[in-house]
């Protein structure tokens, strides 16, 4: 995951203070030096680092923090807030009002413009029910037009091109006319990549802009970019007045400091992040979530949203009921596991949970574990699944034979299940304050929850509580 190394470094810096009951100014100084290096290693722009350090320091040595009961955690909270502020507090949407809405993709060579033209069109077709048209304005890079056409074919999305001999400005204008004629309500212009210092090509972009007045001009930036990211963004912004940034290749191990820098120094919001080579790997950028992800505090909101997309609301409510009165049985467990699989790989999910990400770095999660658990349940009779208490040792032996695993394995699974059920029942009786303490203890203890735990998140949401449990 992106940001991983940054969060490692930051967390180890922050750890020096989180456990302390008392905090001196010197403690803060020592910590801030580490934080400074962590941010620089993450390619955060140096001007921002300086400012950031000063701001956090000022707040951290303030009286309210020093006198509070948990000064360390207060400092973490400040760092989190400042990080969020750096990245622009809330997610920003796109301007889709016009018919057709015209978007222009710009950026350096190799940032991922063409790929993200494809991704964005797919995203907006799915989420906004748009009927997009892609326009191939990159006539310079060999086979750029072919690339866009191939993407269009893969996605079933229309592509307008005039080969490589036409003028990009004309292609853009004609593309929009074509869109109007053929009922497309969204046009995305893929332009040629260029160095921001290339005056001819920058002039061409300005001309396209003047002729088609796009609603959005999106700068595509490679997350691996170093200190130069800000120069690039500033130049494009000056020339074109950007409306947003798409940060690509965040699925690499880059620390993505560019993300922190661009928003702050240009005031252009980051709107999307690209997380893979496949075309459905585009996500809306949520600064507040990214900040807590960087600090390893988990990203519960994204998890909840993912869950909502994939879970049936009614089903979740029923499941929640069952949790509360402990009538949760193996059939429910099975259902729950199936839903979990839809959320993505298990280790990805766990990383979104507060306090888990960092602990898990070196833990190998066996993706087959879930399959094994499933196999055990499949080997049970319907009656056993409905009433786990029924399972005695003779039944266990039969189940073990049925699923090809040892009795120990079966025992362990059943015990885990019963423990979880007990825990869920306790959770349901807890008031929010207790819950807070509990999650705090879990973070400190660093125990990764067993499989099946994740299903509790949407269920809790269904009951209208739970969010409070994920603060520090």
């Amino acid at each position: 995951m992106a940001f991983e190394t940054l969060s490692d470094r930051l967390q180890s810096a922050l750890k020096t203070v989180t456990r302390k009951g008392k905090l001196t100014e010197k403690d803060v100084d020592v910590m801030m030096r580490e934080v400074r290096l962590a941010l620089l290693e993450a390619d955060v722009n140096i001007k921002i680092v300086r400012e950031f350090i000063n701001e956090v320091k000022e707040k951290a040595v303030g009286e309210a923090v020093m006198k509070s009961l948990t000064p360390g955690q207060q400092v973490v909270k400040i760092v989190n807030e400042e990080l969020t502020k750096l990245m622009g507090e809330t997610a920003e949407g796109l301007n889709l009002a016009s018919k057709p809405a015209v978007f222009m993709m710009v950026g350096l060579q190799g940032a991922g413009k063409t790929t993200h033209t494809g991704k964005l069109s797919l995203f907006l077709r799915k989420k906004e029910k748009k009927n997009p048209l892609l326009v191939a304005c990159d006539v310079y890079r060999p086979a750029a037009v072919d690339q866009l056409k191939t993407l269009g074919k893969q996605l079933g999305i229309a592509v307008f091109d005039k080969g490589t001999d036409a003028n990009p400005v004309d292609i853009a204008v004609e593309g929009i006319a074509y869109a109007k004629e053929h009922g497309h309500d969204l046009v995305i212009l893929d332009t040629a990549g260029r160095l921001h210092i290339d005056e001819n090509l920058m002039g061409e972009l300005s001309q396209i802009k003047k002729r088609v007045s796009p609603q959005e001009i999106l700068l595509v930036v490679d997350a691996m970019t170093g200190q130069d990211a800000v120069n690039v963004a500033e130049t494009f912004h000056k020339e074109l007045d950007l409306s947003g940034v798409i940060l690509t290749k965040l699925d690499g191990d880059s620390r993505g400091g560019a993300a922190l820098s661009i928003r702050k120094l240009t005031n252009v919001p980051i709107k999307f992040i690209g997380l893979g080579e496949k075309l459905d790997t585009l996500e809306v950028f949520h600064p507040e979530r990214m900040a807590s992800r960087i600090l390893g505090m988990g990203d519960v909101m994204t998890l909840i949203e993912k869950a909502q997309e994939n879970f049936d609301e009614e089903e979740s409510m029923k499941m929640a009921e069952k949790f509360m009165n402990a009538s949760f049985d193996f059939n429910d467990f099975l259902k729950q596991m199936k839903q979990m699989k839809k959320l993505g790989s298990f280790s990805d999910i766990l990383k979104m949970l507060p306090g888990v990400g960092n602990q898990l770095k070196n833990v190998d999660i066996d993706p087959k574990q879930m399959a094994r658990t499933e196999a055990i349940i499949y080997a049970m009779t319907e009656a056993e699944r409905k009433n786990p208490d029924l399972i005695n040792s003779a039944r266990k032996t039969r189940i073990a034979k049925g699923c090809g695993q040892s009795v120990d394995e079966v025992n362990r699974m059943i015990k885990q299940f019963l423990d979880m059920r007990k825990m869920m029942k306790q959770f349901s009786k807890m008031d929010p304050k207790q819950m807070e303490r509990m999650t705090g203890a879990m973070q400190a203890g660093g125990k990764a929850p067993g499989p099946g735990f994740g299903g509790g998140v949407p269920a809790k949401k269904g009951k209208g509580k739970g969010r409070g449990g994920f603060r520090f």
Partner: protein
Amino acid sequence: MGFFDRIKSALGGKKEVSDTERRAQENYKEGLKKTRGTLLTQLQSLFADYTDINEDLFQELEDIFIMADIGVDTVVDFIGQLKEAALEAGVTDPKELQRLMVDKLFEIYVKGEFVNSNLKMNKEGLTVILFVGVNGVGKTTSIAKIAHQLKGRGKSVMLAAGDTFRAGAIEQLQVWGERVGVPVVSLKEGSDPSAVMFDALKQAKAEGVDVLLCDTAGRLQNKVNLMKELEKVKRVIEREVPGAPHDTLLVVDATTGQNGMSQAKAFLDTTEVSGIILTKLDGTAKGGIVLAIRNEIGIPIKYVGLGEKPEDLVHFDIEQYIYGLFADLFEDGA
């Protein structure tokens, strides 16, 4: 004589500077014009602001070099060495520090070795060169430029279209093949890249080609499966031509920041990278990360991209690079 003085005397128009060397100097100076801009302004104002050498000066120097994307560890190391050298030489004038700084940078790169930026050519038979790197750094374009240069030197060249994944990648290499006038071996999109290599190697051997340049799909270094795929590509090449690939070149975008280090490590692990091509250096990016890569893992830079034209991809020359970065210091300074 230190490196600084050598460059200065070379600039002084002494006779030993050949025409080609001067042209190379101009090439670097022109290509690095934008790169140099901010760095120099910062350095000049720094040296103008300080009348004596103190901790603050070093702190600011550190920041300036970090902004050039030279890795944090390397910069800390470099500044440490600089401090020591200044103390040892009894330097008190910040102007003098400039000279030491350039010398130290040079030393960090050279590390007392003779660094050769030429490609390793197989004297008997086929030379195979493998190109690797993350997405969008300019692998295909670099291959085209090198093919053009090799062809100009009378070599017969063939290209292998090993990027079977990205839409339009094969076509892109084919267009280049046509422009440069060299054959391209390809299979259809989605094929196993190792199969492409196998075919290309067979064909190159059969036709008695001098150099085979192998393109691969861009891949982020943390994608285990894709790195395994690359390992296989390399295995196939090793098996078909003993001693090959003769060079494995990692292509790095000059705008890359600290992640370049992680790229170099991962690709070194899977493919024994023997050199780096630093592309897009004609922008404002400084590509300092390659100095850190050289300093921390030892991989030398073989080529740098200073512009769009085929001849703008030039063999890396540390003297020219440092000269390109600090040209005005040499001219105006002391």
